[in-house]
């Protein structure tokens, strides 16, 4: 299993199994958690279904509702406490009508607009920096198809 014998076959099998796992998981999750855009396309089929929406930007708000943007246009979310426009929210919401959902749980992320890019920036720098620091522990030998230890 860990030898160089049939290396390419082992790599292809692992990649194939990973693709199968991702595909199978996608089918399970798509059935369990359908895309919220379907509320706009087929409202009756999803009436009563609770959708989970993470990190959504609020594009408009009034006294009793707010709107988020989707690939099929804005969706309206009913709540007695709408968050401010331009804020980012995570929501559990029940479909109640055409392009309309009723908020079940609402969480407003403070500072999302700067924290998220900072997170990505730090993450990219961490990976590049760490790989640079440990590069001397390994020797990159693409002609042999493997990364060899230096010791």
């Amino acid at each position: 299993m860990f030898s160089d014998r049939l290396w390419i076959l082992k790599a292809a099998t692992a990649l194939g199994l990973l693709a199968l796992l991702c595909g199978q998981s996608h089918l399970q999750l798509a059935e369990r958690s359908p895309q919220v855009e379907l509320v706009a396309l087929s409202p009756d089929s999803f009436r009563g279904h609770v959708f989970h929406l993470a990190g959504q930007r609020v594009v408009a708000a009034d006294a009793r509702s707010f709107q988020i943007g989707t690939s099929v246009g804005p969706l309206r979310l009913l709540t007695p406490t709408p968050p401010p426009v331009e804020s980012y929210v995570t929501i559990n919401a029940r479909a109640v009508g055409i392009r309309t959902l009723e908020v079940v749980d609402l969480f407003v992320h403070s500072g999302y607009a700067w924290k998220r890019p900072l997170n990505y920036g730090i993450s990219i720098l961490t990976v590049i920096g760490y790989l640079w620091l440990v590069r001397r522990r390994f020797r990159w030998q693409p002609q042999n198809g493997v990364i060899r230890g230096r010791y």
């Binding site: 290396w7 999750l29 798509a30 559990n92 440990v134």
Partner: protein, 153 residues
């Protein structure tokens, strides 16, 4: 997602007990792999989020780790695989601290169960604020590692 510096510290701190520096590096690289695989699928391959969810499952981590360990030399491939997988599982455990309104921060039991799991201690966006604490833990771990090395000499 917590930033990868937090993930690095979560793997590097227990890594002080690993003598082989190459295996130690693979433990840390293993903790990067679930996010690298997930973001690669999402941004490069343009797949849906649900397709990449399995990269943050125990089985997915095993497959990614096996695929990665094939790229290191044969003599350290087996311990390398164990280190990569341990790093990936540490990644999943760290991700569980995120608060996601009960929907689950990841689905570790895919494909056997699609149920999301979370401990829900912290807003995922606020994990980035833990960086000073992470840096202090990393400094303490590196100090401890030096002391161990001196004692052994």
């Amino acid at each position: 997602m917590p930033d990868l510096f937090t993930h690095l510290v979560a793997a590097r701190a227990p890594g002080v007990f690993i003598r082989d520096k190459r295996i130690q590096a693979l433990l840390v690289i293993g903790t990067f792999m679930p996010d690298i695989a997930y973001k690669g699928l999402y941004w490069v391959m343009q797949t849906r989020e649900t397709f990449g969810a399995a990269t943050h499952s125990f089985l997915g981590v095993l497959l990614i780790s096996y695929l990665c360990c094939l790229f290191v030399e044969e003599s350290i491939r087996k311990p390398g695989f164990i280190a990569l997988a341990a790093g990936g599982w540490i990644h999943i455990l760290v991700d569980l601290i995120k608060f996601n309104l009960g929907a689950g921060s990841c689905r570790p039991l895919l494909p056997f169960s699609p149920v999301g799991v979370e401990v829900g201690w912290i807003d995922p966006e606020n994990v980035v604020l833990l960086i000073p604490i992470d840096a202090a833990i990393l400094a303490a771990a590196l100090l401890l590692e030096r002391r161990f090395a001196r004692v052994q000499q």
